[in-house]
Symmetry: D2
Subunit: 137 residues, 4 copies
């Protein structure tokens, strides 16, 4: 099996919170990942829309999978997110992570989250630090 997919499957298998969210890995390769999940009632906030933590968590998992697939353990150092549009219960979200830049020690990723209509509901940017620890499966 492809190494990136193997690492992502391994990470996902141990990631209790991504499982609780119902995240599914649609696609994974070195530097990139596409995830999907469907918003449930228990994920909403006081405005009766998805809590900001839900789309953040989806994007953060996409960041982890996209940045670790290369085989080196990578840790998030800075992330930011703009919530662009409310997300309702029952909506399926797709997070697409792409690598913008890579140095020997850091990586920058852009993650867009779209809803079923293809509208961008959240815009996420994440910077990771590459440790020297390889993934051993």
């Amino acid at each position: 099996m492809d190494k990136a997919i193997e690492i992502v499957n391994h990470m996902m298998a141990q990631d209790a919170f991504s499982k609780w969210l119902g995240i599914e890995v649609v696609h994974a390769e070195v530097g990139s990942a596409v995830l999907s999940m469907t918003v449930r009632e228990e994920m909403t906030n006081g405005f009766k829309i998805a809590h900001g933590g839900i789309s953040y968590a989806l994007a953060d998992s996409a960041l982890a999978f996209a940045s670790n697939g290369g085989g080196t353990q990578s840790l998030s150092v800075e992330t930011s997110i703009n919530h662009l549009s409310p997300v309702q219960t029952g909506e399926t979200l797709i997070a697409t992570a792409v690598q913008i830049n890579e140095t020997r020690k850091t990586g920058l990723y852009q993650i867009d989250i779209t809803n079923s209509d293809g509208k961008c509901v959240a815009y996420f940017k994440g910077t990771v630090y590459r440790t020297e620890k390889p993934w051993k499966l």
Copy 2:
């Protein structure tokens, strides 16, 4: 009862995800909020530490409570978080939100999350937009 506390209690009562997280409101006043929660196994990621979405969600709730307590509905427009230190299952986190700036239409808040040892484990900044809609309870 104090208006800010009334609004925060109302928001919290309807906030299914904050309840799932086990968030408790330690303190709330106009422009400020202190929340606590304890990390459970199901909140961890593939590194066996709290998923980034957990501390983000805690900070995001603190942002919502601190920025809405003044009586005007406020919506997050931009947020960023630096994860500074891994958080283990069983740790209790405290999020403290303070208002840095306020204009007629926007507010800026700083939220620090500390663990039981008082160490800052996450550093969050959030900007909100003030709608013209008052909270009616």
Copy 3:
């Protein structure tokens, strides 16, 4: 003349610092702007590369031009920039601003800065607040 170009020309004509930087407007339309400038010796820092403030300023001007061209005065509320690669004296930079999202009261813009080789040297995100003040020229 096109209204967006008229506004951008007017802003540029009064923008002393953008002139000091040698910024030229390559293209401007509602929600978008492309600017260029060439790095001079006096713009470098202690590492003998362009000071971070130079590429930030270029991107910030692009944000201002892209977000004001629609005819409503817009003010920056939050911006972030990742400096991806060192920029040397003599290099010509191109900043391209595109609108990612728009609500009635806010706008989100992505600005990429590339060097002569087409490499992305800085990655900038900016959120603006739309006032109710129209541009009158």
Copy 4:
């Protein structure tokens, strides 16, 4: 002379743009720096207030000085700034950089810029990566 001050003086001596800005080092120690500068006409934008690039540049220099004073060359990886209040020609700005967190490989700094009235006019956050290159003077 103190090592941090020596490094900052050395950086400042070679930093052409910080000199153009008229930056003065008020204080420097490992992990911290205080800088001042006065806004001149040529630093203003189309709104006749200080260009966003000016306060960013001041904060970015403060980040560089605070993060390099420890003796290891450190490079900015991510920065963000909120412009909170317009700054007029003639105003003297003070930037105060403090270290929020440090790991073996990264550092997080908060920089506040205040005007003569002590009002916070810009709120800046910066993350640096520590190279393995020591400063040799």
